[in-house]
């Protein structure tokens, strides 16, 4: 008899055992929340730069007493350090000219005027220029905000985002990180990024097909195109106008005098070469790819480029 009771007890315990963690969770209620959804969230290409500068502006507005750190002898001119409450409380270095002697900066750095970077610098936090910025020497930064125009004449590497209120020109190699936002982006040197938004992004000064007088024989395609495989559009012999969008599951290779007035979307990679124009001036259109986007030679887009991997532009 005791054996039977023992067996029944053992059986019950074993039967009950798999449910023990569930019952503990049921009563402890360690995670009863639904997954968070931000009801206010919307897609904004300038989100990072705008949010950052808003936080900085708010912190400066709320600043009541300035805390100035002791000057360090390495600086040619003394920078002002303020302790600001950004996402957390931290020191921010303010300078009013470009004469920053230190090559590595651990704090967020704000230049209050036009700045030319003549020396090699590594900014481990955000770099802010409330004026125009010219990079004449190698520079590394976590993120870059420029109130005016920004000219890159030496190799620059940004890890996260670049936000330029004016025109961004790259004349040297530039790795612009994850997101780039500017009023206009002129790519004149080898440049990489993941996303870029501007009214106009181009790689050449020469007039492309959307600005030319096309009186000759032109291939006109109207409508939106959905392609299961890959697509190649060549406009080397005759210009091609596509009055619509292109959506394809495979790779898209577009080269020559091709003007796509809509969007280009690919689940693979996109290559845009030698004279391709995307979009219409004054309107926002997009080039989006899950794979790489490769831009070679003259190219122009009015709007947005997005790659899940990398955009590489070589003018």
């Amino acid at each position: 008899m005791p054996e039977v009771i023992l067996l029944v007890a053992l059986f019950s315990i074993l039967l009950f055992l798999p449910f023990v963690p569930s019952i503990i969770e049921l009563f402890l209620k360690r995670d009863t929340e639904p997954i968070p959804i931000d009801l206010e969230r919307k897609k904004e290409p300038d989100y990072f730069g705008k949010s950052f500068i808003n936080i900085l502006a708010t912190a400066l507005k709320d600043l009541k007493s300035q805390e100035v750190e002791k000057p360090k002898p390495v600086y040619v001119k003394l920078p002002v350090y303020l302790k600001l409450k950004l996402n957390r409380e931290e020191w921010v270095c303010f300078l009013n000219d470009e004469k920053l002697a230190e090559s590595t900066m651990d704090t967020l750095v704000v230049f209050t005027k036009d700045t030319t970077f003549l020396q090699n610098h590594a900014f481990k936090r955000e770099l802010v220029v409330f004026g125009n910025a010219v990079f004449k020497n190698t520079c590394v930064a976590r993120s870059l905000y420029v109130k005016g125009d920004c000219l890159i004449k030496a190799p620059v590497r940004v890890a996260r985002w670049v936000h330029v209120e004016g025109t961004l020109i790259t004349r040297s190699n530039a790795d612009l990180g994850v997101g780039v936002y500017a009023r206009e982006i002129r790519i004149r040197g080898w440049t990489t990024f993941k996303r870029a938004y501007a009214q106009k992004i181009d790689t050449s000064d020469e007039p492309l097909i959307d600005k030319e007088n096309n009186t000759g024989r032109v291939i006109n395609l109207k409508g939106n195109f959905g392609i299961t495989g890959s697509i190649t559009i060549g406009g080397k012999e005759r210009p091609v106008f596509v009055d619509g969008d292109i959506f394809c599951d495979g790779a898209a290779q577009i080269e020559g005098d091709v003007w796509i007035k809509g969007n280009v979307f690919s689940q693979d990679s996109i290559t845009l070469k030698d004279g391709v124009v995307i979009g219409i001036e004054g309107k926002v259109k997009s080039v989006v790819a899950r794979g790489e986007i490769l831009i070679k030679g003259p190219f122009r887009i009015y709007g947005y480029i997005h790659s899940e991997k990398r955009v590489e532009a070589s003018p």
């Binding site: 449910f19 995670d31 639904p34 206010e40 919307k42 959506f247 997009s286």
Partner: protein, 419 residues
């Protein structure tokens, strides 16, 4: 007697093979979602030329929730000149009509449709009537208890730039997840269904399901295909098959997450499940053969399409299997096949097969960053038993509907939110 025993055994073998297919599907989807290439949705396409959109919100006695959804739709960032909102008051007897009129007076883009009198009740009928007055190229549908985020209409509508897309589906998240055991289980079940199942289908170019809410469709295509069948309660599943059989696809937007209110009591859940099963099985009867014979579907789309069609019949088949095994046991004919290989199959099934759905839901919870919820998984065993009962009843309802051609009455899911 010999023939009966043969048939009983044959059914067991058929059932095992069918369940094996579902197990393979579960694992395949889960592994794809966890490690495979993820297909990109269209949310990153920024385009100023957006389509005109009509948002339809079917409502029957929704005074508890009507204001919430209308306030959120009014706050949407979609250009108002391209947007109209049509709340469909379907025979409401509470304050729904007054609430809709209040909003219509305040916002010119809200144009309520009131359905009373002889007009037949039901979501599918309400949608058919609303489609006649909707002006949008794209129709977005929300159930009345949903809470759409500001940018969601844009996220959903942008998919229709791709001419192959006939419908789009977002992700449903229960807002009352922590209310009680039922809502907690429904919450994790939804995670598995959307985060893994739907996304994997979209990745693999299979049959992504349009779910009838937090989603939309191309108006011209649906009108061309004859609108919604008034005899079918699950107009969403029907539309999914109609679209795929006509060469369109359904896009899945995992990023388009929207809160809903999950049933908080088991009776309400039972009625909801039974209605879904009844409607889904009617779709199965109607589209099983066309899916097999379709020239627009690939082989794997057909396989997935058929498995999806039979999903609400599966519990009934398992129930029959249980009866079958009991019969075989009492007839002393339990030995169906005997070999070491078969024994290995049984062991493998017991070790891995039974855990396939749990593996899928567990993976979804990890992807969602809700690891504590994984501990609730064993309790889903009881929900599965509950599901078997009510989906089987829904299957029986569908068979009776098919035979008797009786009139189908829509049963609304009860709301639990405080107004």
């Amino acid at each position: 007697m010999g023939i009966l025993i043969f048939l009983l055994k044959a059914y067991m073998v058929f059932l095992m093979l069918l369940l094996f297919l579902y197990i393979v599907r579960h694992y395949f989807f889960t592994l794809n979602r966890a490690f495979g290439k993820q297909r990109l949705y269209y949310q990153d396409v920024l385009d100023e030329d957006l389509p005109t959109v009509s948002v339809l919100v079917p409502m029957h006695n929704e005074e508890k929730v009507a204001k919430h959804i209308l306030d959120l739709l009014v706050a949407s960032d979609y250009p108002k000149e391209k947007l109209e909102i049509i709340p469909i008051n379907d025979h409401s007897t509470d304050r729904t009509k007054e609430i809709l009129e209040e909003y219509a007076q305040k916002y010119p883009f809200i144009r309520p449709l009131h359905r009373y009198g002889d007009l037949p009740r039901g979501k599918q009928n309400a949608l058919n009537d609303a489609l006649k007055i909707a002006k949008g190229e794209v129709i977005i549908v929300y159930d009345a208890d949903y809470l759409p985020p500001k940018a969601q209409i844009r996220t959903l509508a942008i998919a229709f730039k791709d001419p192959r897309v006939g419908a789009v589906m977002g992700r449903v998240v229960p807002i009352n997840a922590g209310k009680n055991l039922l809502t907690r289980l429904l919450d994790i079940e939804r995670s598995g269904g959307y985060q893994v199942d739907q996304q994997a289908r979209y990745n693999l170019n299979l049959i992504t399901q349009y779910g009838g809410t937090v989603g939309g469709f191309r108006k011209s295509v649906v009108m061309e295909l004859g609108g919604f069948d008034p005899r079918i309660l699950t107009e969403d599943t029907e539309l999914t098959y109609k679209l795929y059989l006509n060469g369109y696809k359904v896009a899945y937007a995992n990023i388009a997450e929207c809160y809903e209110e999950a049933p908080e009591d088991w009776n309400a859940r039972a009625r909801q499940l039974r209605r879904w099963s009844r409607g889904h099985n009617r779709v199965m009867f109607k589209y099983f053969l066309p899916t097999i014979l379709s020239k627009k579907l690939s082989f794997w789309q057909k396989v997935d399409g058929l498995l999806l069609l039979a999903i609400y019949m599966q519990p009934f088949l398992i129930f029959l299997g249980l009866l079958d095994s009991l019969l075989l046991f009492f007839l002393g004919e339990m030995e169906i096949a005997s070999s070491y290989l078969f024994l290995l199959f049984i062991f493998a099934h017991n070790s891995f097969g039974n855990f396939a759905p749990f593996f899928e839901i567990g993976t979804a919870l990890v992807l969602d960053g809700a690891k504590q919820k994984v501990f609730l998984l064993p309790l889903m065993f009881f929900e599965f038993i509950f599901n078997i009962i009510y989906t089987s009843l829904g299957f029986v309802d569908a068979v009776i509907d098919l035979i008797t051609k009786r009139t189908i009455l829509w049963q609304k899911t009860e709301r639990f939110r405080n107004a």
